[in-house]
């Protein structure tokens, strides 16, 4: 492991090399073990201030970053869209400059606009960590997915990963595609043609509209959440049809190889993209993903936040 980390920001997986991704995963491996200690806290980022700036709501990602920061002894402030001055008309840049004036060292940003983290990273001395920007990238989610696959299967290269669901609007799918391809996996996207356009093939993935053809060949299936509460009606006729064509039902799960991993970034819609019994079954690693997310975020905060400024 000769790679050195030199980035102050983590904006996406597209710009990372395979070596850099592996370096984060190795670092996460060391931090995962901290969670099993009697005292689950190390002083690595003592005295640093982290701001969780979530312009879009997200409880689990924010909590995961918050706990990761606590375990590294950083101080944490949470700011959500509701409480921020953005509702009073302040620009993103002004809000961020105010945070910097408070000597924040790390800014974790969730934003509905793609590119918002990049915009701030270019302007701030603080480290900027992308916690999801629009339909662009969600790098820590993809890193924890990669970590979980590697932990369970011992490798990523050569594995066949199926990503199923709303690909078009999914930042999780994009970050996963970049990461998986860089590490040598084969990726097939599955979903309604309106949500899985053939355009994606340009990235180097395969596209299929027939889930039953893909499931028997997959080593990993990653189910994306169908955001039915805000799903644009024009993309598919209804939930019933989606479940019939693409839902991982109990019957359909029988098509999977016995060692195929079932993943989901959460929160899951039981009975929509995945049946309850499948989500709680032996092949499901959904809760491992949550545990690993903490280790991966500790690694990212340590690497980006620990760089001498």
């Amino acid at each position: 492991m000769t790679t050195r980390w030199t980035r102050k920001d983590l904006l996406g997986l597209r710009e990372l090399s395979a070596d850099e991704i592996n370096f984060v995963l190795e670092t996460a491996n060391a931090f995962k073990q901290v969670g099993t200690r009697e005292i689950k806290k190390v002083p690595a980022l003592r005295g640093k201030t982290l701001v969780n700036f979530f312009v879009e709501p997200s409880t689990r990602t924010r909590t995961s970053f918050e706990l990761a920061a606590f375990r590294l002894s950083a101080d944490v402030i949470n700011i959500s869209a509701m409480t921020s001055s953005l509702t009073k008309g302040e620009t993103l840049k002004d809000t961020a400059r105010n945070l910097e004036a408070l000597h924040a060292d790390i800014l974790v940003l969730r934003h509905s606009s793609a590119g918002a983290p990049q915009f701030l990273a270019n302007r701030l001395k603080a480290s900027v960590i992308n916690a999801g920007d629009g339909a662009h990238e969600h790098p820590t989610q993809a890193l924890l997915d990669l970590y979980t696959i590697r932990e369970r299967r011992g490798k990523i290269a050569g594995l066949h990963v199926a990503i199923i669901g709303d690909i078009l609007f999914s930042r999780v799918a994009r970050s996963n595609i970049f990461g998986l391809l860089k590490l040598g996996a084969r990726v097939t996207l599955v979903g309604p043609s309106t949500l899985v356009p053939h355009e994606f093939e340009k990235l180097g993935v395969e596209v299929s509209y027939r889930i039953d053809d893909v499931l028997p060949k997959a080593d990993v299936v990653n189910l994306l959440r169908i955001q039915h509460e805000r799903q644009r009606r024009e993309y598919f006729p209804g939930l019933g049809e989606y479940i019939r064509l693409f839902g991982l039902t109990k019957e359909r799960a029988k098509l999977l190889k016995p060692d195929c991993l079932i993943m989901h970034p959460g929160p899951i819609n039981r009975g929509v993209e995945i049946d309850s019994e499948v989500a709680d079954g032996l092949q499901s690693v959904i809760l491992n993903q949550v545990t690993n997310g903490l280790a991966v975020r500790m690694a990212v905060l340590y690497l980006c936040g620990g760089i001498a400024s």
């Binding site: 980390w5 002083p43 980022l45 590294l72 001498a308």
Partner: protein, 186 residues
């Protein structure tokens, strides 16, 4: 041991492979004498050379007493107090210690003792796993210049140095070079 160390500055050999072997064997004897209950001892190396030195001391103890002493690994990177002030971030590794630590004697093992800051970080790391009965320290080389009130219990070689000098340890297993300790002058 000639021609293996390539530096622009002058490097003086201080210990050769045989001297290192004798030093570690003597430390093994001292650990045995100082610890009547060897089964409670853990030799915990600081990566990467400390881990190899701990393994070798353990092997000597087995040779002398026919007892397998437990070994472990202590990561100090995430316990250092200078993160963010160093140009290069130390690589973190997973620690491995036999648990629980209560009633055990943990012997921290490292190649060179210098300021003592690494040892302080190692003691912090150990405390996060539990509360051992004792913590001791074994080093191959003590080069002086402590910045903290720390001393070694077992020393392979005391080597007074100037701060501008450097001690380079090379071990076959970690560096793929013949065992040797060099003193480098600028």
């Amino acid at each position: 041991m000639k021609g293996t160390k390539q530096t622009a500055s002058a490097a003086v050999p201080v210990l050769d492979a045989e001297a290192i072997r004798r030093a570690l064997r003597r430390i093994a004897h001292e650990v045995i004498e100082g610890n009547p209950q060897l089964e409670k001892v853990v030799l915990a190396g600081i990566p990467s050379r400390g881990v190899e030195i701990a393994r070798r001391i353990g092997a000597f103890i087995r040779e002398i007493e026919n007892i397998d002493v437990e070994t472990g690994v202590i990561d100090v990177a995430m316990h250092r107090d200078d993160v963010g002030t160093r140009a290069e971030l130390p690589v973190v590794r997973a620690s491995k210690l036999p648990l629980p630590l209560e009633e055990r004697t943990v012997i921290i093992v490292d190649d060179v003792l210098y300021t003592g800051r690494t040892v302080r970080a190692a003691m912090d790391a150990i405390s996060s796993f539990g509360r051992p009965a004792r913590i001791q320290l074994a080093v191959l080389v003590d080069r002086g210049h402590r910045e903290l009130p720390i001393r070694a219990d077992y020393v392979g070689k005391n080597l007074p140095t100037a701060t501008r000098e450097q001690i380079q340890v090379r071990l076959q297993e970690t560096d793929n070079e013949p065992d040797a300790v060099w003193l480098e002058r600028e």
